[in-house]
Amino acid sequence: MEPLLKVENLHVRFASYAGNVHAVRGVSFEVGRGEVLAIVGESGCGKTVTAKAAMRLLDRTNAIVDKDSRIELDGQDMLHMPRRKLNTIRGKDISMIFQDSMTSLNPTMTVGKQIMENLLTHTSMTKGAARKRAKELLELVEIPDPEDRLDCYPHQLSGGMRQRVMIAIALACDPKLLIADEPTTALDVTIQAQLLDLLGRIKEQNGMSVILVTHDLGVVASFAQRVQVMYAGQIVEHGTVEDIFKRPKHPYTWALLSSIPGRALSSKSELYALKGTPPDLRRPLIGCPFAERCEYCMGICKKQCPSETEVSEGHSASCWLCHEFAPKVQPPRIFGGNE
């Protein structure tokens, strides 16, 4: 089946006072229908920028998307679509929830009005019908006393509630694709668990696709089906959750998984820690972006950027270790796991 979202060769640059930051460097991926794709990586790796570019939410004054980048939603070209048409798609076919619910909601509007606003723009509903639907949506996101909550202002709700309201707004028009940018990062674990459950249930019901942007591998393992790991604006590895957590191929993925303390062997032992810092994205990169910090770095890694190698179906890594000439490297022991 034709994928829902298709991103090809996406490049994004930002103008900053200290030079152009090349934040996303040739990213290509697809999101299938009804699928949850997680984009993982550390701060500054370009995961949020990639997600925002897909919705064309980047600030037009300083973000430049390269001419030959392509983003297609359901066969429609998102990047060259006129604004007018874009506005009929955004909020309807594709919507987004953000990390910070306090700044994403309008503090001067009641929760009910904010949900209705989305409905009234994209459907031909009457006000009464929209209010009824808004109440149903609040029920859907499991907010107690939805009728009363409709007339609340965002500041009267707790952080978890506000995040639920954001989900309700995003879901108002039954989107085909939901982009969730660190949706639970600002919340406590028990609330996070409630929300992930909720998102999972709604996804099952509506059959929508989800792009989950996060740095929390725990959340990824329990929620996503496919994962792509980003480093320095590039996708270094992508595959199913099983592939990434059990048979990771890229040293950066190894490093990420090894630094999770739960996997360490004994308490107070040294945790695996990556040395150094990610490369400066203002400079052009020669070779593999991870080469400097990689324990398995080879001569070739510093000369030429590795291309994507398919390890098994749907699982590829961009690493020279996958090349036939490369020495056979044993990944760190931790991945033995229970097996």
């Binding site: 810092t277 400097e292 770095c297 080879m298 001569g299 030429q304 020279w320 090349h323 000439f325």
Partner: protein, 308 residues
């Protein structure tokens, strides 16, 4: 990308090359050096700053360049249009306007800068003390500020100028600064309270650093940039107020002059000699605009929130 032919030599493991210690990009830079870098990149603000320097030079050396005394009257050359002889023309008493605009500029700019400095000093002391004592003292002090700032500013200035019956520069400054320090006091207090809650001040307290030392090392350096930016924005306000007061006849007395006085004098003959109005107003506009644009640039360069 062009693929080079690969050979097995390239696949010999090298290991990580990132050092244990970390490296920093770029030269070491102090806070002010970094701010200057930012400011320099802002072309508009830089242009405004250069323009201000030129205007300042003009007010200082203007009379010397054109060679006319700004008080020298010459009835034979009344109301002449700009020419090679008199670059800005002459006024109704035959005085050279180039010299007069330059000298008037001194008064205007001095009033602007002195006004800002006065409100700066008073505002810092008042706001700083309010934040330092806190509690009830702070409450009372800030209510006084509220009351003072609710008095219509211009009305008070006009009233004071009339009552004081003198139109020297100090009187003007007194009238204009009597309530306008309130804004600075508010900003300083807010900034102080914010610093007081910050973790680096908490760290200093935990380490037992004395309160005086904390004020000197943390409070003052972190407030100064906010004050600089605020005062830069206030200078055009004072220049404007002075121009307005002079315009309504409450400004500096003859033979001394200012841009406002010049504009005021040109008003009656505006239709016949528009250039007499043009030059002083042009300078008022250019100066206030430049200060505002430079203030914008300074704010962007000094704002700690921008530097992450």
């Amino acid at each position: 990308m062009e693929n080079l032919p690969l050979n097995e030599q390239d696949f010999i493991p090298l290991g990580a090359s990132a050092s244990e210690g970390e490296v920093l990009a770029g030269k070491p830079m102090t806070y002010w050096q970094d701010a200057w870098q930012r400011f320099r990149k802002n072309k508009v603000a830089l242009f405004a700053a250069i323009l201000l320097v030129i205007i300042a030079l003009f007010t200082i050396f203007g009379p010397a360049i054109c060679g006319y005394d700004f008080t020298a009257q010459n009835v034979k050359i009344r109301n002449q249009a700009p020419s090679t002889e008199h670059w800005f023309g002459t006024d109704s008493l035959g005085r050279d306007l180039f010299a007069r605009v330059a000298v008037g500029g001194r008064v205007s700019i001095i009033i602007g800068i002195c006004g800002a400095l006065i409100v700066g000093v008073i505002g810092c002391l008042y706001g700083g003390l309010a934040a330092y004592f806190g509690g009830r003292v702070d409450m009372v002090m800030m209510r006084i500020v509220d009351i003072l700032s609710s008095i219509p500013n211009l009305l008070l200035v006009i009233l004071l100028s009339v009552v004081l019956e003198s139109s020297s520069i100090p009187t003007l400054l007194f009238a204009m600064t009597i309530t306008s320090w309130c804004g600075v006091a508010r900003i300083v207090r807010a900034q102080m309270l914010q610093i007081n809650r910050s973790e680096y001040v908490m760290a200093a307290r935990i380490m037992g650093v004395s309160p005086v030392k904390i004020v000197l090392t943390h409070f003052i350096p972190n407030t100064i940039s906010v004050i600089i930016v605020n005062l830069t924005f206030r200078i055009p306000g004072f220049i404007f107020s002075e121009a307005f007061l002079s315009y309504v006849g409450l400004g500096v007395a003859a033979p001394n002059t200012s841009w406002g006085t010049l504009a005021s004098a040109a008003q009656s003959t505006l239709l016949f000699y528009p250039y007499q109005m043009l030059f002083p107003s042009l300078f008022i506009a250019l100066t206030t605009l430049s200060f505002t644009l430079m203030g914008d640039g300074l704010r962007d360069a000094l704002d700690p929130k921008m530097r992450r």
